[in-house]
């Protein structure tokens, strides 16, 4: 009754409520901002680590190489025995040069034949470099033969 009768007592109550409201508003805003920033950082960090994990998980070999004298095509069979899908480019150096840099897609566990057009003769020695788009490289050599 004393408080209700005293109008001066309302001011500190209202002031306290306003102060609390401001603190809560600013605090929740800061919390919301921090939350979104940390979530965003988490996602970015995970994506970066995932990229690195995929890069170290890549496993592939040049399983077989053959040269078709009639068509002038070097066939390179790449076996992706890792656990991630890959995209590769093939570069051929040595006695003759050629490349197929079209980022051939190879699903994991699959073998894919990649063709490289070049003109080679029997006995030519070739160095084959297969580079994945995650910058892993595999090398092979091949001497052009005919069965």
């Amino acid at each position: 009754m004393r408080l209700l009768g005293n109008r001066k007592a309302l001011t500190p109550v209202v002031a306290t409520m306003i102060l609390c409201g401001v603190v809560l508003t600013v605090g929740i805003s800061v919390w919301s901002f921090t939350y979104s920033i940390t979530k965003s950082l988490e996602e970015e960090y995970y994506e970066e680590i995932k990229r690195r994990i995929d890069a170290i998980s890549e496993r592939f070999i040049v399983e077989h190489v053959s040269y078709d004298n009639e068509t002038g095509i070097l066939n390179v069979w790449i076996f992706n025995y890792g656990q991630v899908d890959i995209q590769v480019d093939v570069y051929v150096r040595g006695d003759v040069e050629g490349q197929n840099a079209t980022a051939i897609f190879i699903p994991h566990g699959q073998i894919v034949r990649i063709t490289v057009p070049l003109t080679a003769n029997i006995g030519d020695e070739l160095s084959i470099t297969v580079i994945s788009r995650r910058q892993n490289a595999v090398y092979a050599t091949y001497v052009v033969t005919s069965y």
Binding site: T34, I49, E63, N75
Partner: protein
């Protein structure tokens, strides 16, 4: 006690105390709901990366441990079918995913437990009619290793049949026309001094229709090859091994169960 009462009195009278407490609570809330989970999450992701590194190292180690011997052989001297005898020489189970014959591959799926062997089903090859052809055979494992046949290159010449292998050896091929369990004895002796080069029992089980045995020899000479099934003599032949023809092939077909 008077100190506590004094402090509480001060706090209740202070207008800024409430907001200070709220601010502190919000700060602690941010710490517990944003910052700490963030560091815990990063720790988990780092653990995932480390785990992957360890797994890949282990996989590479397994891959480097793989060691198999592959022998491609024709079923008989004029056969257009080739089988592979694969001996796993490592403690790991090896999974064969492909067989290559020259530039053609056959998808395959056989698993060979550590230190055991397996024979593949016969694969058809195209034989030349008037000329000779050579066949290079290799297999690919699921761990990404390729192993060439030790009898490479297998050569077929129309009229004279199969040949192949560059080591001093007698390659014995036993084929049969029925299923079940049967034991053969392979005995190779040097004719000049009757010394025994090989005297092994070979047991074929289930639906394995052929078997390959490579008998390595030390020097060119004439050797007696004798293959028996129980007391039944299947084949006895004298083979001359020379540097010109270092690898000789002996074919035995067991038609009677």
């Amino acid at each position: 006690m008077p100190f506590m009462q004094l402090t509480l009195l001060r706090l209740t009278k202070s207008k800024s105390a409430m907001s200070t407490v709220l601010g502190m609570l919000i700060f602690i809330g941010i710490l517990f709901t944003c910052v700490m989970p963030f560091f815990l999450y990063i720790n988990q992701v780092n653990s995932l990366y480390d785990q992957t590194v360890v797994e890949m190292k282990r996989q590479d180690q397994d891959s480097s441990l793989e060691n198999i011997e592959v022998y491609a052989y024709p079923l008989n001297d004029t056969s257009n079918q080739v089988s592979l005898y694969i001996k796993n020489q490592c403690p790991l189970t090896v999974e064969i995913v492909r067989i290559w014959i020259n530039d053609q591959f056959y998808s395959y799926n056989i698993q060979i437990p550590g230190m055991s062997w397996n024979i593949t089903d016969p694969l058809n090859v195209t034989l030349p009619e008037g000329d000779s052809s050579s066949f290079h055979v290799k297999v690919t494992t699921a761990r990404g290793n390729c192993f060439s046949s030790r009898t490479n290159p297998l050569s077929y010449t129309a009229g004279s049949g199969w040949s192949g292998g560059g080591e001093l050896s007698i390659n014995i091929v036993i084929s049969r026309d029925y299923h079940g369990t049967v034991t053969y004895n392979v005995k190779v002796t040097r004719v000049s001094d009757s010394s025994i080069i090989c005297n092994d029992d070979v047991t074929l089980i289930g639906n394995t229709l052929s078997y390959f045995k490579k008998v390595g020899i030390e020097m060119p000479d004439t050797y007696n090859v004798k293959i028996t099934k129980g007391t039944t003599l299947l084949k006895e032949e004298q083979i001359e091994v020379s540097w010109q023809n270092p690898t000789e092939w002996v074919y035995v077909n067991d038609a009677n169960k």
